[in-house]
């Protein structure tokens, strides 16, 4: 234990440690636009991700309007509905969550929390953002090209994704695939950077087992993303070839609408394997950074060390590794060989164990804490509830035979929104309230923050909890309306209206959040350097917001783990990681 928490690093004065030579911007353009400073890049990533996320939010209102009041909004015809769900799903998962957690939080926090001056490869880091930005623009062109964006579902299953009866078959699917390819290229540049920085750029004394869990989460997720995205990359390239030059990677012989197509010999199910080999890890790519960040939020705002730090680290790593052997649980009813069901159900349910350990440890961190109900803490508590709920319904869907009636129903939609939609988003909000003071030097407004929390948390629960039961009745997902189904009671329409109304209210609350972000930039209460009295290094910078190079003349030296809260005998209830051991007690 001792090695994790305390102890002097092989003593070397800080100013003798190997310092990297920093790149220095010379003009406004290189300082704020084509910047190589990870902090600026982080803000750029976050702004673009949040902006595109607002588009996805508006799309969800339109979808909900159609589902709650079918027939009233006649411009939402089936084609548009499918385009909306596709763009909504893909934007939320890839362009918002992945980009924000890794490109946004990763860039901001990795150098600062590890005591580095910047990322190891700042130039590549800059390219990473601009390619991501290009990917977003290419994605958005879909809305303006003839035929509109693709409506193939975010899973893009061929053959329908590239055939005429799916909206966006002309250009939408092409720009979607090109955009994904660009995103992956951009991400790979950033991702290699994050990994190398974590491995090579840490300050003296910052051993791996002293890193804050935020960094462990982002690091593990990045490694996973580097391994998982290539599967999507090849899938996208092959589908693009099928669509543009008529190859048959995923296209068997087909007669569509009475017409025999030129394709022959391809395998639609091969695409599903490639997609989910990426897609399942992707779920954890957005979950693990959330796990890490929420651990630090809970610990800081409960003034207590995270419970079971080592178990938490191993659970992260175990989840990351296991998540590569469970992908076919998305394909239980795909018609793959039935024997796979035994294997994938077993691996899937095994993941529940390290995941449950994480939940226990968050809750046990609250036990005997000194809990401050700050806005970040509220969001963290909300996360535990929604993540637990969504994780538990995962045990239904992972248990192969239970998935047979439930798969492709609204139960699945409810499940994944809880676990990978609402839960990570709540962490993102908590994290923004937590780190905004460091990024801008000002606090976000507390009362607006609490309002934002209550409406978002309770609203999201009211949207998605009852939705499970619509799916349990048997209503499939990706349906433009329930229509006449003999087994669905008329009262289900009332429930759907209710869900829609709540969704609109939750959406409106997000506007309050955006307002808060902008308003507090100038009007917020000055934060000081360490408003939460936190231990981790980013709160110990000489300036707030941290200046270029982060640390002034000398790099920090780390003497303890990230969780020295309420240490018995210490004067304060927190000991920063760079505070040397007290000569009297050490």
């Amino acid at each position: 234990m001792v090695d994790v928490m305390h102890g002097v690093p092989e003593s070397r004065p800080a100013d003798e440690s190997d310092d990297v030579e920093l790149y220095h911007p010379h003009s406004w353009i290189t300082k704020y636009v084509f910047s190589q400073d990870a902090k600026i890049i982080a803000i750029q990533y976050s702004t673009v991700a949040l902006a595109i996320g607002l588009v996805a939010l508006v799309l969800s209102w339109l979808m909900r309007l159609q589902l709650g009041f079918p027939g009233v909004f006649s411009f939402i015809d089936p084609d548009r509905y499918y385009q909306f769900i596709t763009m909504h799903g893909m934007i939320m998962v890839v362009y918002l969550l992945t980009a924000l957690f890794l490109g946004g939080f990763g860039n901001y926090l990795i150098p600062l929390m590890l005591g580095a001056r910047d990322m190891v490869f700042p130039y590549v880091n800059m390219l990473s953002f601009w390619i991501y930005f290009l990917a977003v623009l290419v994605l958005l062109t879909g809305f303006f090209l003839p035929g509109g964006p693709t409506g193939a579902g975010w899973t893009l299953y061929p053959p329908q994704a590239i055939l005429a009866n799916t909206p966006g078959q002309q250009w939408g699917i092409v720009v979607m695939l090109v955009s994904l390819i660009l995103f992956i290229i951009g991400f790979t540049m950033g991702g290699l950077n994050y990994v190398v920085t974590v491995l090579q750029g840490r300050a003296k004394g910052m051993t791996l087992m002293r890193m804050p869990l935020t960094i462990w989460g982002i690091f593990t997720a990045t490694v996973m993303a580097l391994l998982a995205f290539p599967a999507l990359f090849v899938g996208a390239v092959m589908m693009l070839l099928d669509r543009l030059i008529g190859t048959s990677f995923f296209m068997p012989a087909i007669v569509a609408m009475g017409e025999r197509l030129a394709h022959k010999g391809g395998s639609p199910i091969l695409f599903q394997h490639l997609f989910w080999f990426f897609g399942h890890p992707e779920v954890y790519i957005v979950a693990l950074p959330a796990f890490g960040i929420v651990s630090d939020l809970i610990s800081t705002h409960a003034r207590k060390n995270i419970f079971g730090y080592r178990m938490m680290v191993w659970a992260l790593v175990a989840i990351g590794a296991l998540s590569f052997v469970v992908w076919a649980h998305h394909m239980y009813v795909s018609g793959m060989h039935p024997a796979f069901g035994f294997f994938f159900a077993t691996t899937t349910l095994i993941i529940a164990i390290p995941t449950a350990i994480k939940v226990y440890n968050w809750v046990l961190t609250l036990w005997q804490g000194d809990i401050h109900f700050t806005v970040p803490m509220l969001f963290a508590l909300g996360f535990i509830v929604t993540f637990l709920n969504g994780g538990l319904t995962g045990l239904f869907l992972g248990n192969v035979v239970v998935d047979v009636p439930l798969s492709d129903t609204m139960f699945v939609v409810a499940h994944f929104h809880m676990v990978m939609g609402v839960a990570p988003i709540l962490v993102i909000f908590g994290a923004i309230y937590h780190w905004y003071p460091k990024v801008t030097g000002r606090m976000l407004d507390d009362r607006l923050g609490k309002l934002h929390f209550w409406v978002t948390f309770l609203g999201a629960y009211l949207i998605f909890f009852p939705m499970h039961y619509i799916g349990l009745m048997g209503v499939p997902r990706r349906y433009h309306e329930i229509g006449a189904m003999s087994f669905v009671p008329p009262s289900a329409a009332t429930l759907n209206e209710f869900i829609t109304v709540v969704a609109l209210i939750v959406g409106a609350a997000q506007l309050a959040f955006v307002f808060n972000l902008i308003w507090s930039l100038k009007q917020g209460r000055p934060a000081g350097g360490n408003p939460w009295r936190a231990t981790t290094l980013e709160w110990q910078t000489p300036q707030t917001p941290p200046a270029h190079g982060n640390w002034g003349k000398t790099l920090p030296v780390v003497y303890r783990w990230a969780y020295d809260y309420s240490v018995p005998g210490a004067a304060e209830d927190f000991l920063p990681q760079n505070q040397p051991p007290d000569p009297r007690t050490a």
Binding site: M1, P78, Y82, A152, Y157, Q160, N165, A253, I254, V255, R260, P268, I269, R303, K304, F307, Y309, M311, V333, S334, G335, P338, F342, A345, L349, I353, A356, I357, L366, W367, Q368, G369, D370, I371, F373, L381, I384, V385, L388, L392, T393, L395, V400, V401, V402, P405, S407, D408, Y461, F465, P466, L472, G474, Y479, S486, F487, P489, S491, Y565, S566
Partner: protein, 271 residues
């Protein structure tokens, strides 16, 4: 403080909703009661865990809220507790997985006396083919598809001539007789789904997939498509009628065979 109450209300509200709301699965009409049973087991285990964890959280939040002069405890680890929790979770997981795998084994083991029904999905309609008097389906392939032969039955395969072809009409099934649904698609992926049967499986162009069940309740049930298949996905509906043997046989007598359906076109061609 308020949050502790809200957390408790979330648990109570969820449990009340679960038991009192009118939205629940439709009564089953197949032998897959085991699936429903496994879902019930899973509801109980996960429900108890959800309630226990959130209520414990509510208690912590209430009991350990910040007050002037409070200080948190310092307890980095508790190996024993962590291992016990992990083992307990393992047991709970096994209690769900074991029955799940047993039932999955049954689900994928087709009884030898099952009759065969072929379902063909195409945008956006269902068609069916039943083996005729010889009890065997003839070969079929998209390469054989023509306007007159939309299912692509191989006209040279003698087993195919007596196959019963149902297009634009409901499928009928015999009550109490196990059936193996052979699933085929000729354009994109579809999924033959009847909520009352608790079973579904994608149908993939280029291959044949299957599942089996025994209809246990007579009536008319909705057929839905459960895999996004383009603009008309929502409206790809049909019905399946489950009826006792005598009625089923009467229906069967009225259906046309592949040869009968091809007949008129051939005679026309000769004229």
């Amino acid at each position: 403080m308020g949050i502790a109450v809200v957390l408790a209300l979330v648990v109570i509200g969820s449990v009340v909703f679960h038991f009192l709301s009118p939205w629940w699965w439709t009564p089953i009409a197949s032998n897959w009661r085991y699936i429903d049973d496994t879902i019930i087991i899973t509801f109980w285990i996960t429900g108890v865990v959800f309630a226990a964890v959130v209520l414990f959280m509510a208690y912590c939040v209430f009991r350990f809220r910040h007050r002037e002069g409070n200080r948190a405890a310092y307890e980095p680890e508790n190996k024993r507790l962590e291992w016990w929790l992990a083992i307990g979770t393992g047991v709970g997981v096994a209690a769900m997985l074991a029955p799940g795998l047993v039932v999955w084994h049954r689900f994928v083991t087709v009884p030898t006396d099952a009759t065969v029904v072929e379902v063909i999905g195409q945008q956006w309609q269902w068609a069916y083919r039943l083996p005729g008097a010889d009890g065997r389906l003839g070969a079929a392939d998209v390469a054989q598809i023509t306007a007159e032969n939309p299912l692509g039955v191989d006209p040279k395969d003698p087993h195919g001539q007596d196959d019963i072809v149902i297009q634009g009409d409901n499928l009928h099934l015999q009550l109490g007789k196990p059936v193996k649904m052979l699933l085929r698609a000729i354009d994109v992926v579809h999924d033959f789904y009847v909520p009352e049967f608790r079973a579904k499986m994608d149908m993939i162009p280029g291959s044949v997939t299957y599942y089996w069940f025994t209809p246990t309740r007579d009536g008319t049930f909705d057929v839905l498509c459960a895999e996004l298949c383009g603009t008309g996905h929502t409206f790809m509906r049909g019905n399946v009628v489950v009826e006792p043997e005598s009625q089923y046989q009467a229906w069967l007598q009225q259906q046309k065979t592949f040869a009968q359906l091809q007949g008129p076109t051939r005679t026309q061609a000769k004229n």
